[in-house]
């Protein structure tokens, strides 16, 4: 029974899915190249939202330009993170990486509370309130469309970067076999810094888009992280097309479930799916690359 309500839920699912894709792709890149697990990745999304909000309110910038600013700033934060925390625990006990990222969750979340307070904000966009009617009582807002477009643009740019540029080649080489690529003269340290910054930039973009579409507060970083992980597990660690499909599927499935079952089961269902996948295939649906 395809109702306009269901279509509306599906469209919204696609938009949310796109934001998840950005977040998951950033995570994917970092994991693929550095074999690093960062549970605080969603916090970068949250910071991205706040930075975009700050530049729009304090400097009066257009919300969509703020997306670029957020990307740049969060990328810089990513460089700092890599250099001062993750680099020191890389490679050793995997548990240490988990502990550090947990600590970072608390640091980021509470820093945001101290700097901006617990109030919920939303970024006001110039396209606010404008909708495109698709007929049959279904409409999509221009903000939603812009978000989808921006995600597509970013993904295409990312694809080109990985396939056509030197640094992209270095990243791919490192993700396959970091020892071999070191022998080939690849500067591993530089690759790591760039990779982490790139992943962070994607998270920042996801955050800025999130902030335009939804209200946000310091606590929003936690769940998207888990969902991003779920997506890359389902889609396959290190596989970018997998993340895209996974992200879309995830956003749609989540919202459809909410539509029919109510929001209470939303998170539980998401995790149940994840657990089932992992139990059946401990290395994810499409398997791991470069493991």
């Amino acid at each position: 029974m395809i109702t306009s309500g269901l279509i509306g839920a599906l469209l919204w699912g696609v938009v949310i899915g796109c934001i998840y894709i950005l977040l998951a792709t950033g995570l994917n890149i970092i994991f693929g190249v550095m074999k690093l697990v960062n549970f605080a990745h969603g916090q970068l999304l949250m910071i991205g939202a706040y930075i975009a909000f700050t530049v729009t309110t304090a400097l009066g910038l257009n919300a969509y330009i703020a997306v670029l600013v957020a990307m740049g700033t969060v990328a810089l934060i990513g460089v700092g993170l890599e250099r001062f925390t993750f680099r020191r625990v890389l490679g050793a006990d995997k548990l240490n990486e988990i502990f550090v990222s947990l600590g970072l969750i608390y640091v980021f979340e509470n820093a945001a509370v101290l700097l901006w307070g617990n109030t919920t904000y939303q970024i006001s966009s110039p396209l606010q309130g404008l909708q495109l009617s698709l007929g049959q009582d279904v409409a999509i807002s221009y903000d939603m469309l812009s978000a989808i477009l921006i995600v597509i643009v970013i993904l295409v740019a990312l694809f080109l970067l990985l396939k056509k540029t030197k640094i992209g080649l270095a990243m791919r080489a490192t993700s396959q076999k970091s020892n071999a690529s070191m022998l080939m003269g690849v500067n591993i340290e530089k690759v790591y810094i760039f990779t982490f910054a790139l992943g962070a930039a994607l998270a920042g973009a996801a955050g800025a888009l999130y902030g335009i579409l939804l209200p946000f507060n310091p606590a929003i970083g936690a769940l998207p992280t888990i969902k991003a992980f779920a997506i890359i597990i389902i889609g396959g660690l290190g596989s970018i097309p997998g993340a895209v499909i996974g992200g879309l599927l995830y956003g749609i499935a989540e919202n459809t479930a909410v539509y029919f079952l109510g929001a209470t089961w939303q998170d539980a269902i998401a995790f149940a799916l994840l657990i089932i996948v992992l139990v059946i295939r401990p290395t994810g649906i499409l398997g791991e690359k470069g493991e």
Binding site: V37, L102, V107, N110
Partner: protein
């Protein structure tokens, strides 16, 4: 099978006898005596709101520590804290089961669920296990709140105290803690514990030397979740009220922080970590007020105009920083540092002339 068991018992006995002759033993006796006598001099508030939580979380953190020593860093331990809490409290309130028995049954059920969840986790790598365990804690809290008619998890309900508040409750908890932690110590020192360590170091190699990694990982889960449930029951009784907030992610991160900051893998680590974090928890927020009276009524507020209460977020941020600093600079935790300091102090006394 029984011969290896006898051998294990024998080796444990030898360990215990050796230990009892060591310096560490006297230290332990002193520590226990200290913890037993100190509360008499302190106010009821400190005993029931500071010391008792320290002991309860020491059990909880130790249970997480045991699991982590097998390489399984669970991010969803609050599920078991909560199951233990609710089952103990519900049994005591609704079926008139004596609270102590309820405590035990709660721990058993927690271990049973731990077994099931452990089954799904045995083949998972560290970060997958972390996500899955977190996922389970979300699923479990959703189940509890949806079954509100049975569990009363949404509004919550008061729990019985078992014994008097303050000193009696403290001593009961203390006794249970000594037994629990000692049991976990025995496990970690036994061959089972060695298997845990081997799996943690390198699971592939452990498999190659013939260790049934799945079996030992499962054992770790069952023992760990049993004691987590036990801590949960005590937690519920000590606060006097239980609701779904016991499943909050904060309670999943707490034992992790305590064990890691104190000293992952050691027996004294979680205890020290619990003492440190509970102290920070209870006393740091007051620093804002104390600073307020020193610097001026506003304290730190002018620095952070967006918030009206600076203490709690500052404290949480501090904990996060503390954890990161420990992991990066002192990955073995604070306990070894204390040992070093103690050795330094006592050896300098013994410096021969």
């Amino acid at each position: 099978m029984s011969r290896t068991f006898k051998n294990s018992l024998g080796s444990i006995k030898r360990e215990v006898v050796n230990f009892s002759r060591s310096q560490k033993f006297y230290f332990l006796i002193a520590a226990i005596a200290f913890a037993a006598i100190l509360p008499i001099f302190l106010t009821t508030y400190v005993v029931s709101e500071v010391l008792t939580p320290m002991i309860i979380f020491a059990i909880y953190a130790s249970s997480w520590n045991l699991l982590a020593s097998s390489g399984q860093g669970s991010l969803g331990h609050a599920a078991f804290l909560g199951i233990g809490s609710f089952v103990s409290a519900l049994l005591a309130i609704k079926s008139g089961v004596p609270p102590i028995i309820g405590l035990f049954l709660g721990s058993l059920l927690s271990a049973a669920i731990g077994f099931l969840i452990g089954l799904t986790c045995v083949r998972l790598k560290a970060w997958f296990l972390a996500m899955v365990t977190f996922g389970f804690s979300v699923i479990i809290v959703t189940i509890f709140t949806e079954l509100d008619d049975f569990t009363s998890a949404v509004l919550g309900f008061p729990t019985p105290l078992i014994v008097g508040r303050g000193l009696p409750f403290y001593y009961m908890t203390f006794a249970i803690a000594v037994i629990s932690i000692f049991t976990m110590y025995l496990v970690m020192k036994s061959k089972i514990g060695l298997a845990f360590k081997a799996i943690h170091q390198n699971e592939l190699e452990a498999k190659m030397v013939g260790i049934n990694t799945a079996k030992y990982r499962l054992i770790a889960f069952v023992i760990s979740t049993f004691f987590a449930g036990l801590a949960g029951g005590l937690f519920a009784y000590s606060i006097g009220y239980i609701d779904h907030s016991v499943f909050d992610p904060y309670y999943s991160f707490l034992p992790l922080m305590m064990a890691v900051i104190g000293g992952l893998g050691t027996i004294e680590g979680p205890i020290i970590g619990s003492a440190i974090i509970v102290t920070i928890d209870k006393y740091l927020p007051r620093i804002d007020l104390i600073l307020g009276s020193l610097i001026g009524r506003e304290g730190l507020i002018p620095l952070f105009p967006a918030v009206s209460s600076v203490g709690p977020p500052l404290r949480m941020l501090g904990l996060g920083v503390f954890l990161i600093v420990v992991v990066i600079f002192a990955p073995k935790g604070v306990a070894p540092l204390i040992k070093k300091a103690y050795n330094y102090l006592s050896s300098s006394e013994e410096k021969p002339k």
